[in-house]
Amino acid sequence: MVAGKEGREYYRSIGFKCGLEIHQRLLTKTKLFCPCDASLDSGWPIAKIYRRQKAVVGELGKMDLATEFESSKRRMFIYSAFRNTSCMVDVDEEPPHAVNSEALEIALLIASAFDAEVPDEIEPMRKEVVDGSDPSAFQRTMEIGFNGHIDVGGRKISIPFISLEEESAGIQESTQEFVVYDVSRLGIPLIEIDTLPEIETPEEAKEAAYRIGLLLRLTGKVQRGIGTIRQDVNISIAGGARVELKGFQELDIMDKVIRNEIERQLKLIEIKKQLEERKAKVHEPVDVTALFSSTRSKIISENSKGGKVLGIRLEGFKGLIGTEINPNRRLGTEISEYARLAGVRGIIHSDEDLDSYGFSTEEIGALKKTLAIGEKDGFMLIAGKAGIVEDAARFAEIRARLAISEVPKETRVVDSKTLTTRFLRPLPGKERMYPETDIKPILVDRKYYLSLKHMAPDIEREREKLAKEIGNKQLADQLLGSQSMTLYRKILSETGADPVTIASFILEKMKELRRGGIDVDRLSDELLVYIFKLFKEGKITRNGIYEIAKRLPKDKESVDSIIESEKLRRLSDSELLSIVRPLAKLGKEKIIREVMSKYRLNVDGDSLIAIIDKVVG
C-alpha cells in the first residue's frame, strides 16, 4: 500500500486526479413522479412482473463494452411490487405524474447550500439504463444546478453539476438467469452532487465527501441510515485510467481504499511495460476438453460436465499473471473477474500452483503442447457449459489483452474488509440521454431561488450555533459529523428538552445500547420525541430514558406501561424533599449515595443536589 505520508507533491507527481459523485436520498413523503410512499415501508408484495429488456444501440451506433457485457447475460428481470410503495408508474405501466414539488424545493435548497446557480428552466431527461434496475429501461433525471462549490480545508472544490433524479430499484436476488428487483425503492427522489476532479490527495477526498454529506444532512431534508447516501469516487493517475469506485459503506476507509487503487494502477502500469517489452500476445481460445476427459481435477471435471474446457495461450505472460497488484490480488484475479461475468466460476492460470488443483503432469504437458506454450508464456483454462464458456473466454481474453495495452476504465466495488476493490463492469461510455417527453419542463422562479439562500445551511455557522447550544464543543462536533443531526433537531424543536441530554443520548447512550445488541434504531423518531417530552415534563429521569429505550417500546402505550412496570416515574421535588429531610444530618455526599442507591432511576443527580443544598443549607 502507498504509505499515506505522501504530501500533495507526491500525488501531483503521479498525476493523481480525483472527483466525487455523491448520491443522497431526499426526505419526502412521496416519490419523485408518483404518489407512492417514499418510506420503504413496503407491506405485502402484491405482484411479481417478469420483463425482458433489449439492449439498445448507443448514441454512436454501437454498443459499448458495458452494454455488451450486460446484454450477454440475457437475463430475465423480475420486479416485486408492493401495495404502499409501488404503483403502475413504477412498473412502467403508466406515464409519470408531475414532478414532486417537495422534492424540487429540497433540491433547490441544496443547490443553494452549495452556492450553485440554477437553470431558468429545468428539462427532465431520460438516461438509459441497461442492467434492469429500472423497469422503464431508463432513469428520469434533471440538471438543477451548476457552478457550485464547497470549501474543504480552505480550498474551493468546484461542484459543476447537481441533479435531481429517481432512485433505482434494489436487487433482492441475482443469478445468471434472472435478477429480482424490489421496486419500493425505485423513484425515491435522489440528489446527485458531482465535484470536478480537483481533489489532490486521498485525505482530501475523504474530507470533501464528509463536508458534502454534512451539508446535505444539515438541510434536515435528507434520509438517514444505511444506503441513503452513496459516495462514489472517480480517480486516475498518469498512465493509468479513470476508475469509478463504488460501495463505500463508511467514509473512514475512503483514503485507504484510494491509496490501494493507486497502488493497483501503478502495478498494472509496470506489468504493462513488461508485457510490451516481451511483445506479449493473447492467442485465440482452443478447445482442450479432450485432454481432460479423465482428469482428477475437480474444478475442471465439475465445471466442464456436459460442457467444455478452453485453453488460451498467453504469450510472454509468464510470472506476470501471478504478480501481486494489491494485497492478495493478482492480474489473474482481475482476469478471473471478467470471465465470471459470463457465468463461470473463474479461471485457472499458469502462475498458480497447478498441483493443488489435482492436475497430472501428463495433462499439463499435453496442454502446453497443444497450446504451444513457450518458456516465457503463460496460459489460462476456463471450464463451463457450452454457450457460457465461450463468452467467459472472450471476456477473459479482453482483460488479458488490456493488460498489454492499458489500465482498463472500470467501475469497481469496494471491499470494506480488505480495503481493496474488485471489478464490477467496464466503465460505461457516455450514457445516452434524451428528453423525457412525458413531463413538462419546469420554469424556475429566480426570486424564489434567491430567497432560499437565507434558509440554506452553512457548516461553520451551524458548528458555532451547536457548540453554543450544547456548551460542549466536542459533543457538538461529534453530533455535527454524525447521521443524527436531523433527529437531534427534531427532538429539540418538538420537546425543548435539554440539548446536552438529547445529544449525549443520541451519540453515547444509543451507541452503548447498539453495542449491547439492542436494535435501538428501531425506535421511531416520533417515539423518541414522546420519551423526551416526558423527560421535559419531569415525568422521567435521564436514566429513565435509557431504561425505556433499552426495552424497545413499540408505541406510546408501551412507553407508559414500561414506566409503570419498571417503576421509572421521576420523583417530584416534594417527594424528594421528604426523602432527603430525614437524612439531613448524614452530610451531602452520604445523602447522595444513599438516595441514588435506592432511587437511581427516579432521581436526576442535578435536582437531587439542588434539594440537598436547600435542606442542608
Partner: protein
C-alpha cells in the same frame, strides 16, 4: 416554438436547430446543441443539450447574447439491415405497417417522437423474426390510430387480401392501439371469407425504449401468422404486465380496457382464442375457424359511414337522436345502460327517448342496442322499458361490444341493403356467442 425575438437572433446568425451555440445569460454562460422548442412553453427560454448529455433551459433576457460556434453534426443515415436472408424452410409472412406507437421512434437528438417511415428499422430491432418466418414488409401508411377511419380499414383489408393472394401464409398488421379493436372488427367482417391468420398487433410503449412491449408482441404475432391453425382476424398483445406470453383475441371480441398498461386488450364476453409464447408454442383456448386455402374468397369492402354510436346517460337530451336522423344517418348503435335501457319514463316527458327512437325507426334508420356495461348480454324482456324498445323495433345486439356492433352495422348497411336490421344480431364471424360462460368477466 421560440419567440420572434429569439428566432430573429437565430436568423441573423444563421443558427438552426442542432447547431452548437454559446449562450451568455444572467445565470451563466453555456455551450451546447440548440434543441427545438415545443409549441407550448415560454418562447424566450433557449434549450441547450450540454456536453454532459443534459438539457437545460436558459432565459434569453436583457443583456444576453448568442453566438454560433459551429454547424450541427449531419444526421447519421439510419443503418439498414442488408438484404434479409431467405430461408426456404420457413413460411412467408407479410407484415403490413400502418403506424402507431409500435412504429414510433424518438429522435434521440431532439427528443421529438416521429413515425417510422421505414419499417425495416423495426425489423432490425427484432432480429428474432428472421428465424420464425420469411418476412415481407409492406409499408401501407404511417398513421396514428385515432386518425384512422373506414377508408384506412378498407385499404388495410385490400392489402391483406393482396398479400394473401401473393402467397403469404399469415399476415401481421402493425397498428396503433387506440382504435385497434375497431379495425380488427372491420377486418373480421371485410375478410370474413379469408381463412388465414390475420394478426393485428401494436405497442403501449414505443419501440425506442429497452422496455418496449413491441418486441414480444411482434414476435408472438409473427409466430401466430407463421404457425397457428386459426384462420381468423384477431389481436395479439400482452396477456399481462410480464413479457412471458401474449393473448390472441378474436377481432370482434376485443376491447382496449386500459389507457396505458401493456395488457390493455381484453377479450370481452369470450375467452382468448389462444395464448402464444415468444418461443413459438401456441395454446388454444376457444373454438376457432381453421385455416384454409383462399379459394374464391374476395374482400367485401363496402362501409356506410352514416352510422353513429351514442352513449346514453342520465339527462341526455333525446334531440341528440333527432339530429342524426335529420342528418341522414342510416344506422345508430345505442350504448344503453344495464340490460339495454335508454331514459324512457322520465319525470319530464320531454326527456323520454321512446318516441324519438320510434320516429327514427319509422324513417328507416336501423337502431341497435348494446350495453355500456361492456360485459354481459343485453335483454329484451326483463323490464318494461326493454319490452317497449324492442317492440318498437330496436335490434338488441346480444353480447356484442358497442364498437363491434357499430362496425358491423356500417358493414351491413353498405353490403347487404335492406337486410342490415335483420342480420345485425345474427352471428357472422364469431362476434356473437349464444352461451355466456361463467369465467368471462375479468
Amino acid at each position: 416554438m421560440y419567440s420572434k425575438n429569439v428566432e430573429d437572433v437565430f436568423k441573423s446568425k444563421s443558427i438552426k436547430t442542432g447547431d452548437i451555440i454559446k449562450v451568455k445569460a444572467a445565470v451563466g454562460s453555456f455551450e451546447g446543441m440548440l434543441m427545438p422548442r415545443s409549441e407550448l412553453g415560454d418562447g424566450d427560454i433557449i434549450v441547450l443539450k450540454l456536453d454532459n448529455g443534459y438539457n437545460i433551459g436558459i432565459r434569453f433576457g436583457e443583456g444576453a447574447s448568442i453566438e454560433k460556434i459551429r454547424d450541427g453534426p449531419m444526421p447519421a443515415a439510419a443503418s439498414m439491415p442488408s438484404g434479409s436472408s431467405h430461408n426456404p424452410n420457413l413460411p412467408k409472412v407479410a407484415l403490413i405497417y400502418t403506424g402507431g406507437t409500435i412504429g414510433s421512434k424518438i429522435d434521440y437528438a431532439t427528443g421529438g417522437v416521429y413515425m417510422l417511415t421505414k419499417p425495416e428499422e423495426l425489423m432490425a430491432e427484432v432480429p428474432e423474426l428472421a428465424g420464425i418466418a420469411n418476412i415481407e414488409i409492406r409499408h401501407l401508411m404511417s398513421m396514428a390510430s385515432e386518425d384512422m377511419g373506414s377508408a384506412e380499414w378498407k385499404a388495410i383489408a385490400a392489402e391483406v387480401f393482396k398479400a394473401a393472394s401473393e402467397g403469404a401464409r399469415g399476415i401481421v398488421v402493425t397498428i396503433g392501439t387506440d382504435t385497434m379493436h375497431y379495425a380488427s372488427a372491420a377486418l373480421s367482417f371485410m375478410l370474413k371469407d379469408l381463412r388465414i391468420p390475420v394478426i393485428l398487433t401494436g405497442a403501449q410503449r414505443s419501440s425506442d425504449r429497452g422496455s418496449s412491449d413491441a418486441f414480444t408482441n411482434l414476435i408472438c404475432a409473427v409466430q401466430l401468422a407463421a404457425k397457428s391453425e386459426i384462420g381468423e382476424v384477431g389481436i395479439c398483445m400482452h396477456a399481462n404486465s410480464s413479457d412471458n406470453y401474449c393473448s390472441f383475441i378474436r377481432g370482434t371480441k376485443a376491447r382496449k380496457m386500459h389507457t396505458s398498461s401493456r395488457d390493455a386488450f381484453r377479450p370481452i364476453n369470450s375467452k382468448p382464442l389462444a395464448r402464444v409464447y415468444p418461443e413459438g408454442n401456441i395454446e388454444y383456448y376457444s373454438q376457432y375457424r381453421k385455416v384454409a386455402d383462399i379459394g374464391d374468397a374476395k374482400p367485401i369492402l363496402g362501409f356506410e359511414d352514416k352510422v353513429a354510436l351514442i352513449k346514453t346517460h342520465p339527462n341526455l337530451d333525446p334531440n341528440v337522436l333527432d339530429y342524426y336522423v335529420n342528418e341522414g344517418y342510416k344506422g345508430i348503435i345505442l350504448e344503453g345502460t344495464g340490460l339495454g335501457h335508454v331514459p324512457t319514463f322520465t319525470s319530464d316527458p320531454k326527456r323520454s327517448w321512446l318516441e324519438h327512437v320510434k320516429n327514427a325507426i319509422s324513417k328507416g334508420v336501423v337502431v341497435g342496442m348494446t350495453s355500456q356495461c361492456i360485459y354481459g348480454r343485453v335483454n329484451t324482456n326483463v323490464y318494461r322499458t326493454l319490452r317497449l324498445l324492442s317492440a318498437a323495433g330496436v335490434v338488441y345486439c346480444e353480447d356484442m361490444t358497442p364498437e363491434t356492433a357499430y362496425v358491423k352495422l356500417g358493414f351491413l348497411l353498405a353490403n347487404y341493403p335492406g337486410k342490415a336490421g335483420e342480420m345485425l344480431n345474427k352471428n357472422m364471424v364469431g362476434e356473437i356467442n349464444e352461451k355466456t360462460e361463467i369465467d368471462w368477466l375479468v
